[in-house]
Symmetry: C2
Subunit: 346 residues, 2 copies
């Protein structure tokens, strides 16, 4: 009797195992194997066993392309991000990858560059590639576009509030986070607090500024528009914005940056102008990027578990693909007090 020869010298080189081969080895029909693989129908325990034995005997793995063609799942989920190397969402991407991998899913990352047209193109691409579901990280596409897509695919949206069938959203609590930052400074005795906002056509930027205003109001402090300068969520924008604020001659003992990246730039601008942080001016950021624990001084900031958000998003998509409704989640921000803030000098 011929032996199994897997050696390189074999005349019949080991071909890639197919579902058909599994069926044959297990003595059942291909459809039965398919059913077991997808849990599409009940199968008798003995065939079940035979098949799964055959599967790992042959080391069989279904071909995603064939599945896709036949109308099955592609085992891939599209992820629309803005920049693949975004320091902010990076951890979220990692979170997604980690959980998707455990479920044999593959993420298809693509970037929209904060451009609505481009974002739509990327979303279309993802659909063409027949992803099973889509995760959208913020972005500029209209809610309606997202809802339309949700007609075909389950979709998870991060950074918005969106309701609808096949839609699950995970919103970021910008407003509360920003209030916490402001409250922290006020409690340290600061009364004149500068604010470097993000681009004001950006939802996160708007909500964060709103939180700052509200907290001032709550604490009976005046809101002075001249203390607010607009940045672009980048280091360089924060740097420039702070220089503008400095040149305006306004007096302030603390600054809030709408995100950590800008806080870095602000820190440099302050330093160049001869101000020490936190001795002369306190500084608070937002996001708690991994790097923020290692700046000099370590940055006080508002933390959101971005990795966690990624995990939640991936789990949600997985559940929806499984016809389950994900439980609502709320991401709460918390203040991480480090050394860039101190009590105001009297």
């Amino acid at each position: 009797m011929p032996t199994l020869d897997q050696s390189p010298k074999s005349l019949t080189p080991p071909k890639k195992p197919t579902l058909g081969m599994v069926a044959e080895l297990a003595g059942v029909s291909p459809s039965t194997v398919s059913r077991i693989l997808n849990g599409t129908a009940k199968v008798s325990p003995n065939k079940m066993a035979a098949v799964s034995e055959a599967i790992d005997m042959l080391q069989f793995r279904p071909d995603p392309a064939a599945r896709s063609l036949a109308g099955g799942r592609t085992m891939s989920v599209g992820v629309l991000t803005q920049f693949i190397d975004s320091p902010y969402y990076g951890e979220a991407l990692r979170g997604m990858e980690d959980v998707l991998r455990q479920h044999q899913y593959v993420p298809l990352f693509t970037s929209g560059h904060w451009n609505e047209v481009e974002e739509r193109e990327r979303l279309t691409l993802l659909q063409e590639r027949k992803v099973d579901g889509i995760i959208v990280l913020t972005g500029r596409v209209s809610d309606q576009t997202l809802l339309d897509i949700a007609q075909d695919l389950p979709i998870v949206v991060i950074g918005r509030k969106l309701q609808g069938p096949q839609v699950f959203s995970i919103d970021i609590d910008n407003f509360e986070g920003s209030r916490m930052a402001t409250r922290h400074l006020i409690s340290l005795g600061h009364r004149s607090i500068g604010y470097v906002s993000g681009p004001m056509d950006h939802k996160d930027a708007i909500e964060r500024l709103e939180g700052y205003k509200r907290e001032l109001q709550e604490k009976q402090l005046p809101f002075d528009p001249a203390l607010v300068v607009e940045g672009d969520f980048q280091e360089s924008g924060g740097f420039r914005a702070m220089n503008r604020l400095l040149q305006s001659g306004k007096i302030f003992s603390a600054v809030i940056a709408a995100n950590d990246q800008m806080a870095y730039g602000i820190r440099l601008a302050l330093s160049n102008a001869g101000f020490r942080v936190p001795d002369d001016i306190s500084l608070v950021g937002f996001d708690d990027l991994p790097h923020s624990a290692f700046t000099v001084p370590p940055l006080t900031t508002v933390k959101q578990s971005v990795y966690e958000i990624g995990v939640l998003a991936a789990n949600a998509i997985l559940q929806m693909l499984n016809k389950e409704a994900p439980a609502p989640v709320s991401i709460s921000a918390k203040l991480v007090a480090r050394e860039s803030t101190r009590v105001a000098r009297v």
Copy 2:
């Protein structure tokens, strides 16, 4: 005559156009369309025109899954990175995405976590997904594994020197870069230069340390092993390593970090210990991460165009997929002198 009705009310909802429909509309056979799409054979100009007209009339786009099944290209290239959110390779990923997109290719990013087993698994996965080519960013897999894979697919390796058919490698000049950093400090009058290395089982770490040693030797300066401490290429590792060096009591007027991330941690450790940068101690990094221009003080470092490397890698893969041999490239490092270094005090 019936009009084209694309409205939602249409009884025949616009189906996704297929190659067959294009063929029919153009009055040719499916094979001809396929040939035009892939440039597989010569086709008469008139049919050519008819087909391309039909194509954009129907807005036809070939189905990647079907292509894959039929043995064609999947229009996707796998990218094995270590962490999807690596600050270092982030820009490279962006570079790849940018050029791949222009050629209708999609990158499939996957992470190996600096773990050889995991890396092999991911590479296998990429092959299962039938990517047309693979780009490997450093990693721990053996050269042999890579060469084996190259039997099936073109492969581009970044951070190694690898020769072989279907293999193209883009090496990083760690050695020279490190020498430049060392030379810079020596020229500023520093004689006792601390060195925080990467993990010593890491090629980049070894080569960079080698460059430091060599430059010292060249300049007739003694190499003192006690001035070298091992880090892990992370902020926290740099922080701890510097604390160890500080505790050892060794005297030094400058420090080289094997990468920027560690330099950040080192900067903090120095600051905590009461040393000013650059007044008391000069600091040089390696990589020139986007952030390094915004640290306080801005970091002197060795720049490599990581984005450019990504672009080159993607272009190389594309050329190989096109049966062309990519021209050899050399990535040269250059020193970016900023404000974390100054002349040694006598």
